[in-house]
Each structure stands twice: as structure tokens, then as C-alpha cells.
């Protein structure tokens, strides 16, 4: 059994009177690909924001990579996000007036210092060696998502979070992105937590948990060869 990279005990998040996440106990072993499913408003993104250090819990314990996130200051959380987490969003959130390589270098800049050669090589790894100087508007949805992946992995994170990364993609692009993630995970050995509505996408993971109204209602251990 691998060491748990994420451990939560009674993890809760309230927004005023609304309880987005009810006391949750969860363990994610290092290197696992965990898919998180559930209807809209079930607490998937809330959970992802909490483990990614983007939000603070209202109650409970949360340890990620040995760090007690509740004890970290704002600066500490920023350092944690910078050095430990990579995030892929559904809407890409690429800077529109920067080229693909500059978007990747931006992540390097906020982490430490930019290195163009390394950014180029990351884009080549995701199959975009020919699109280095194109701006996001000049790329297809699948290509933009691959830039996001290059950006997310450039700082060698231990934890890769995906918030419906294939939500805007067609089937062919979805498969391409999933295959790419599988390949990179095998090489880099990071842990993936992927929020999705799509059963087919969830099936790429090692395990799927189902949230409903902020409660973990079901868990499936899957192994489907993509």
C-alpha cells in the first residue's frame, strides 16, 4: 500500500448557511488516479479546491503531501500551490495575448525563473512542437487543453488536479488528452484527481468516488484499459 498523499478527516466546507461539503474522510495513495463524479453542486469542485490549496476548509483535518494545509499561512499556501500542485481547468484559462510557449513560461515565472528551452520541450512532449508561437485563439480546443497540461506539469507537481478538463472537447480530443495524461503519469508518477461528469472519462482512473450533496455516497475501484 502506497503512502497516502491526501488525507482528510471530517473535512467540511460551508458557504454561509450552505454546506457544500459535509464531513468527509478520504485517503488518496501516492500515484493514484482518482476520479470524482457527481451532479452539479454535489461538492466536487469544492473538494478539489480544498486539496489544491485554493480554498480553506471550514472544519476538519486536511493533509496533502505531509503538509497540514490548515496550519499554512497565505504565503505558505501560495508556496504549496506553486511547488506541489498542477491544475487543468475546463475553460483552459490561458492568457490570450501570450503564445503557447509564453503561457507555459508564465507558470515557470511564478514558480521560480522562466526557461524557454524547457517550456518548448514540455510542449513538444504534449505534441505541440509545431504550435509554439501560436496564441490560444489560433489553437483548437484539444490543443489548448494540451497547452494547459504542459503548463500544469512544467513545475513537476506531485498532485495534478483536473476540473472537468475534457468538458469542452469532442470524443477524439478527449481520448487524446486522456492518453496523454496516462503517459505523463507513468513517466512523472504524479497523483491525479479529476473531477468529471463523464463516466467514460472517469473510467481512465484507478478509482472513482461519487459525491451527492456534499456527501461521499459511493466508491468504485475500476481498471479499464483506455
Amino acid at each position: 500500500m502506497a503512502t497516502a498523499i491526501i488525507e482528510t478527516h471530517g473535512l467540511t466546507r460551508n458557504y454561509g448557511d450552505i454546506c457544500a461539503l459535509k464531513p468527509l474522510d478520504l485517503q488518496v495513495p501516492e500515484g493514484e488516479w482518482l476520479s470524482v463524479m457527481g451532479h452539479s453542486g454535489s461538492g466536487k469542485s469544492t473538494l478539489m479546491n480544498l486539496v489544491g490549496g485554493l480554498d480553506r476548509p471550514s472544519n476538519g483535518a486536511l493533509r496533502v503531501g505531509g503538509e497540514d494545509l490548515l496550519m499554512l499561512s497565505e504565503d505558505g499556501l501560495a508556496r504549496f500551490r506553486r511547488e506541489f500542485v498542477g491544475i487543468i481547468f475546463q475553460q483552459h484559462h490561458l492568457v490570450p495575448y501570450l503564445t503557447a510557449v509564453e503561457n507555459v513560461m508564465l507558470a515557470q515565472y511564478f514558480h521560480s525563473v522562466p526557461d524557454e528551452a524547457e517550456a518548448r520541450s514540455a510542449l513538444e512532449r504534449v505534441g505541440l512542437g509545431h504550435r509554439l508561437r501560436n496564441r490560444p485563439g489560433e489553437l483548437s480546443g484539444g490543443e489548448q487543453q494540451r497547452v494547459c497540461i504542459a503548463r500544469a506539469i512544467i513545475n513537476s507537481p506531485k498532485l495534478l488536479l483536473g476540473d472537468e478538463p475534457t468538458g469542452n472537447l469532442d470524443h477524439k480530443s478527449t481520448v487524446m488528452v486522456m492518453e496523454l495524461l496516462k503517459e505523463l503519469r507513468a513517466e512523472e508518477r504524479f497523483t491525479i484527481i479529476m473531477v468529471t461528469h463523464n463516466q467514460e472519462v472517469a473510467a481512465w482512473g484507478d478509482r472513482t468516488i461519487y459525491l451527492d450533496d456534499g456527501v461521499l455516497v459511493r466508491e468504485e475501484r475500476l481498471k479499464v484499459e483506455g
Binding site: 511547488e83 515557470q108 514558480h111 521560480s112 525563473v113 526557461d115 512544467i154 513545475n155
Partner: protein, 450 residues
């Protein structure tokens, strides 16, 4: 109470010195603390005794020499630092290693403390120097040093660990703070004499150049040409030349740090880790730049303080005097003005279109002297009297009161006079001749001659 306020900038400068030393020699904090405290007390007491035993320029000269040596040392170190930053290795880098030993840290902190303490003591002149005063002063200096060193240590603990100080940066800050502290004391100030030396150096160079091309400048160069050459003899050239010499060491040190090679990270395979190490090295390098840049600011403050001293000069309005039938100007020693009170007393003598400014002063040796309110070198801007000296307003040279009445340099031009009963008698024609022969010609022809 006034003396307490006067001491504040000096004491704060010393606290700054201790703080920089604590950062720069972080491996020897207790040695730095003890040595700088002991040095400060020794400096205060030693200078107090010295000033009491040898009043006049001798004691100030010793302290000023120590400041001058520290500035020269900074120059040497800055040149060596920029040389070493090119990647060359030389025996001179051993100096830095010595300073980083226990003994080196103690010596540097002790010496800095002694000079800083001595500068502080210069503010205490005239307070008497018996044994009891010395003991009380030592106790007060010790208590003050103890309190302030621990304040400096508290500030040091608040600074981030990555805020490191290079050896050369540390020296730049220490020297800058010493010069800032001393620049408010006229007899210790280095910047004004430095500007003057530059001005004189340029002047001498031009003369030598003229001679080397066999043109005796004073005889053959027309006044219109002098207008252009005279620019080189102006005090602006001295000021800006002095500024270049003043700032260059700190600039060289900052450049050396800026161009320092970053550690090689080529052997690290993971890109993020490689970049993280590089970023950390760049951050440390930027922190190391803070102190030399701060030193430049302190050097600027010292130069400003030197150029615009907050000292109030005794500069009475010249009293008009006239000559008798026999052409003699007779000034009573006592009356409205007491010529023997040790203060500068200025007079204005007019005859026809000509006018002459002169002053009468009793030197500390008890001798009266009559001098033109101008020297034979500078533009005749006149003199003011400050603590223990008169100052030439044009070039800011301090003339110790003991030497007023002697001929040469930037000294006021002495005028023959006689003492009859309770009066001082000066010949009017001698005054006029002396003024036009030396001062008037110099002022018109070459902007003061320097």
C-alpha cells in the same frame, strides 16, 4: 539636552554599523557584539582623552586620518571585488576569508567601533576632561553601547535568513555610515576636502599641461580664453569629481555582485528543481545588492551634509570704517566690539570706487591678527567662523584658528598692522594694495583661480 540630540545621528550610525556587521559576519555574532561594544567605549573614551590632551587640529587629524584610511581601504576592496568577479582567483581574496574568522570578525568590529566611538566623542569637546569625567563617560558609553547592541541584535533577528551581506558590501556600508556620521563635524568631514583636492588637481593639471606645451598660461592666455578654461577651475568640477571618487567604490561593489556568476545547476535533471535553485540564488544575489545600494544612499546623505552643513557660522556684517588724514584705519580693541573675544570681526573699507573687506581676530594663542576676508586662491566669497576654525565659503576649506594670520594656501591673506594703546591700526593704502594685488585680480581673471 542639546548634546543628546546632536549625538543621535552618530549613535544611530553606529547601530547601523553593528547591524551590518551582525549580518555580514553572521557566523560570529557574539564576537561582533562584544568587539563592537568594547571598540565603541574605547573609541569614545580614547578620543575624549586625546581631544582633552591635544586641543586643536592634531586630535581631529588622527580621527580624520582613520576615516580616510577606511575610505582608501574601501576603494582597494572594491577594485579587488570587481577584479575577482571576473572569475579570476587571486591572493587578495584571502582578506575576505580572514575577516570571516573569529579573529577577523573581532578586529573589524573592534576597529569600526573605535572609529565610530571617536567620532561620537568629537561632539563632546569642551566638556572638560578630569578623571571622574572620563570614568563617568566610560560608564555611560558602556551602558549606551550595551542597550543599542541588543537593539541591533533584535532587528537582526527580524530580517529574513536569505538577506545576506557580502564582505565587500559590509565594508561599503560600514565606511558609508562612518563617513555619514563624521560629515556633520566640520573638522572630520572628508567630502569637502576631497572636492577641493579634485579642484586643485584639475587646476594643477591644466597648468602643467600648458607648461608642457611651453605656453605660460597666465601671461599669454587671453581673458576670453580663461572664461572657458576657468570652467575647469570652478567648484562644480571639484564637486562632481569628488562625487565620482565618493561613489565609485559602492558602485563597483554593486556591479561585482550584479555580475557574480550563479551556481551551476546543469547537473540537476529535473527542470523545476533546477529552476528553483536558480531562483533561490538570484534572490540571494538581489538581497546582497541591497546593502551596496543602501550605502550609495548613505554616501549621498554624507555628501549632502558636507555640502550643506547644518552648522551656523559666525559671520557678522562688515562694519564700515574709514581712514584718518594720515591714511590710517584705527579700530578700538574694546568698545561696541571686543576684538579680543576670539570671534571674527569684519570691516568694510571704501575709498573711491575701491572697497576692501577684512577682519580682525584674536587667535587661541592670544595674538591679534588682521586679514583680508579672502584668500589668494579662491573667489573672494569670504570666511565664516565655526567651531575651532574659520571656513572659506568658496571651497569649504577649514582653517584652524591657530593658523589664521599665516601666509599661504587657502589662509586669509594677512595684512600688516600695529597695536597702539587700546587700538589696532591698519594702513588704508596697504589694505587697498593687498586686495587688488591678490584678491581682485584673481577674482576677475580666473573665477577664483582654483
Amino acid at each position: 539636552m542639546a548634546i543628546f540630540f546632536k549625538l543621535i545621528p552618530h549613535v544611530l550610525s553606529w547601530v547601523g554599523i553593528v547591524l551590518v556587521l551582525l549580518r555580514g559576519l553572521s557566523g560570529h555574532r557574539s564576537v561582533v557584539t562584544a568587539a563592537s561594544m568594547a571598540g565603541f567605549v574605547i573609541g569614545v573614551v580614547g578620543a575624549f582623552i586625546l581631544l582633552g590632551s591635544f586641543p586643536g587640529s592634531f586630535s581631529f587629524g588622527i580621527i580624520k586620518s582613520a576615516l580616510g584610511v577606511s575610505f582608501l581601504l574601501l576603494w582597494g576592496v572594491s577594485v579587488a571585488t570587481i577584479y575577482l568577479s571576473t572569475g579570476r582567483r587571486a591572493a587578495i581574496s584571502g582578506g575576505g576569508r580572514f575577516v570571516n574568522t573569529k579573529l577577523g570578525a573581532g578586529v573589524v568590529s573592534g576597529l569600526a567601533g573605535i572609529v565610530a566611538g571617536a567620532v561620537c566623542a568629537c561632539r563632546l569637546t569642551g566638556t572638560g576632561g578630569n578623571a571622574l569625567a572620563v570614568v563617568l563617560l566610560a560608564l555611560a558609553a558602556g551602558a549606551l553601547a550595551y542597550a543599542l547592541v541588543f537593539a541591533a541584535r533584535a532587528v537582526d533577528r527580524l530580517l529574513p535568513a536569505s538577506f545576506t551581506v557580502s564582505m565587500s558590501g559590509m565594508l561599503a556600508a560600514v565606511v558609508a555610515l562612518l563617513l555619514f556620521s563624521s560629515s556633520s563635524i566640520l573638522r572630520l568631514d572628508l567630502f569637502s576636502p576631497l572636492s577641493m583636492k579634485v579642484m586643485k588637481g584639475v587646476h594643477d593639471f591644466v597648468h602643467q599641461f600648458m607648461e608642457s606645451i611651453l605656453i605660460p598660461d597666465h601671461l599669454f592666455v587671453r581673458p576670453v580664453v580663461w572664461k572657458y578654461i576657468g570652467f575647469l577651475f570652478g567648484k562644480e568640477v571639484g564637486f562632481w569629481g569628488g562625487m565620482v571618487i565618493w561613489f565609485t567604490p559602492a558602485v563597483l561593489i554593486a556591479m561585482a555582485i550584479h555580475f557574480e556568476r550563479l551556481p551551476s545547476v546543469a547537473h540537476i535533471r529535473q527542470g523545476a528543481q533546477r529552476r528553483r535553485l536558480l531562483a533561490a540564488a538570484i534572490r540571494v544575489q538581489r538581497f546582497r545588492l541591497v546593502i551596496p545600494v543602501l550605502s550609495l544612499v548613505i554616501f549621498s546623505a554624507a555628501a549632502y551634509q558636507s555640502s550643506f552643513p547644518s552648522v551656523e557660522y559666525w559671520d557678522p556684517k562688515p562694519l564700515p570704517v574709514s581712514a584718518s588724514q594720515a591714511g590710517e584705519i584705527v579700530i578700538p580693541k574694546k568698545g561696541d566690539v571686543n576684538l579680543e573675544d576670539g570671534k571674527l570681526h569684519k570691516y568694510l573699507f571704501k575709498q573711491g570706487d575701491s572697497e576692501v573687506r577684512f577682519f580682525v581676530l584674536m587667535t587661541p594663542a592670544g595674538k591679534l591678527t588682521v586679514d583680508l576676508d579672502a584668500c589668494a586662491i579662491c573667489k573672494p566669497d569670504g570666511y565664516g567662523q565655526a567651531e575651532g576654525s574659520v571656513i572659506c565659503y568658496y571651497c569649504k576649506t577649514l582653517i584652524p584658528l591657530e593658523t589664521v594670520g599665516r601666509v599661504g594656501g587657502c589662509n586669509p591673506v594677512p595684512v600688516p598692522f600695529t597695536e597702539k594703546a587700546d587700538t589696532v591700526v591698519v594702513d588704508g593704502m596697504t589694505l587697498l594694495n593687498s586686495w587688488s594685488a591678490t584678491v581682485k585680480a584673481t577674482a576677475r581673471v580666473k573665477e577664483g583661480g582654483k
